[in-house]
């Protein structure tokens, strides 16, 4: 069993063609997921049962089922439903890219909303009381006090979720998308060389992860600058 370096040299550029798709999946799902997460979190902490309850159920379902199943339900399952086929969003659901974005967004939204909620709950109550004592309204306290502090608290966990999201984009390969993993699998099927191809792909993902972690570390340090004595 030999390790064919020339194979890696050949395969790597081909796989890196898929990096564009990987990034699109990552960035779009992250942004849309964050928006969804903020909405869910606000519903969750609203105190009104008709908002909090649906949010809790949603989060429970999407965190309790495998993301692969969610992707399959959207990509394979939705076309079975008449109102999806006839609906205005059909072009979105017919396209594997659209389905992947939808599934990844819905999934990461659930996780991130809990992360944001953890941040909000972690804000020292005394600080909010001081805000109240000074006469700040509920809205003012949330914007000027809760949000900045919660963002800093939530960042480590949020960073981890972004990295998870990067890894989840690889599952797009299961619904015919030619991201890096999709291309890799095709190559392996052609060349019967799983070691060279998959290991080099793994290294690419590890490098991407490393870049993400360094960037997040920088953001963490910026947000935490008031914590340095």
């Amino acid at each position: 069993m030999t390790f064919d370096v020339s194979l890696i040299v050949d395969a790597l550029p081909k796989m890196l063609v898929g990096i564009g798709l990987t990034f699109q999946l990552l960035v779009l799902s992250a942004i849309l997921g964050l928006i969804l997460a903020i909405g869910l979190m606000l519903m969750r902490i609203s105190g009104k049962w008709y908002l909090s309850w649906p949010a809790q159920v949603y989060i429970y379902v999407f965190r309790g089922t495998p993301i692969l199943v969610q992707i399959f339900i959207v990509y394979y399952g939705f076309p079975q439903l008449g109102f999806i086929r006839d609906g205005v969003l059909w072009p979105l659901f017919r396209d594997p890219f659209g389905c992947a974005i939808v599934a990844l967004t819905l999934n990461t939204g659930a996780y991130v909303s809990e992360i944001l909620r953890g941040g909000v709950l972690g804000v020292d109550r005394g600080i909010l009381e001081a805000g109240s004592a000074l006469g700040l309204s509920v809205r003012q306290k949330f914007i000027y006090l809760t949000t900045p502090i919660a963002a800093r608290l939530a960042l480590p966990a949020y960073g981890n979720d972004i990295i998870s999201l990067l890894k989840s984009t690889a599952l797009a390969s299961t619904i015919t998308l030619a991201d890096m993993t999709g291309i890799a699998r095709t190559l392996v099927a052609q060349t019967y060389a799983p070691y060279e191809i998959f290991i080099s792909l793994a290294i690419v993902y590890m490098i991407l992860t490393w870049i993400l972690q360094k960037s997040l570390g920088r953001v963490e340090r910026y947000l935490g600058r008031y914590m340095q004595k």
């Binding site: 001081a130 109240s132 004592a133 000074l134 006469g135 700040l136 003012q140 000027y144 008031y226 914590m227």
Partner: protein
């Protein structure tokens, strides 16, 4: 001349679940008065003053601030909080803002004061508490005593009618207590109306117009400091004083 009655509490009760924290509290504080509240832990002192700015909601009785009754109406509560300042045991400075921003935030958001004026006011009160050079630092960089003085300045920036102090020196290292008490004494001398929950009996003696002793949710005794410390009338007061004044 009848002084303006700023705080009037009538037959106030407060429950936490089944536990009664305040029992039939009756209290009047006029403008210019300095009131000190003392008593053992769990006696309800903090709860009482926290009801005044509605950080706690009273369950029975009336609380009337400067003629307006405290209710659940948001407008009422915010009107009260503008005029009633509070200094907390754990300072509660906003950690993510500089000292200056800490002092300016409420001025701009609540009193809608423009930035330049708010900043000028902030610097004025920072000088009053004797730490103007800390303006651009973050709270974490200041000592406990400095942080509490900033907290006092922050309350003062809102130009309140009365300031409530909730055990302002209890969380401080001993060597820093004096710097805070000095600031509070200066304030009192300048005529600031205040209700101060504290264990610092020296402060009570020198500054207070009235000392109130609370125990188990009730106001047990009320008297000017001379009478209070020299000739307490109630048995419970005597017991408390003997416990804290012997060492």
């Amino acid at each position: 001349m009848t002084e303006r009655i700023l705080i009037k509490m009538q037959h106030v009760d407060k429950f936490f679940g089944t536990f009664q924290a305040l029992k039939d509290i009756n209290l009047e504080v006029s403008k210019g008065e300095r009131v000190v509240v003392c008593g053992p832990s769990g006696s309800g002192k903090s709860t009482m003053i926290r009801c005044i700015n509605r950080l706690e909601k009273h369950n029975a009785g009336q609380i009337i601030i400067d003629g307006k009754e405290l209710t659940d109406q948001v407008a009422d509560i915010n009107a009260v909080r503008r005029e009633v300042g509070m200094v907390f045991q754990s300072f509660n400075l906003f950690p993510h803002m500089t000292i200056l921003k800490n002092l300016m935030l409420a001025q701009r958001l609540v009193r809608k004061i423009p930035k330049a004026q708010a900043q000028a006011t902030a610097m004025e009160y920072l000088e009053r508490v004797k730490i103007p050079e800390q303006a651009d630092k973050y709270p974490i960089q200041l000592s406990g005593g400095q942080q509490q003085r900033v907290a006092i300045a922050r309350a003062l920036c809102m130009k309140p009618e009365i300031i409530l102090f909730d055990e302002p020196t209890s969380a401080l290292d001993p060597e820093m207590i004096n710097e805070v008490l000095e600031v509070m004494t200066d304030l009192a001398r300048d005529g600031m109306t205040m209700i101060c929950v504290t264990h610092e009996m020296g402060f009570a003696r020198s500054v207070a117009d009235r000392v109130i002793f609370m125990d188990a949710g009730e106001i047990v005794e009320e008297a000017p400091p001379e009478a209070f410390f020299k000739a307490p009338k109630n048995e419970r007061t005597k017991k408390f004083l003997s416990q804290i004044l012997t060492h």
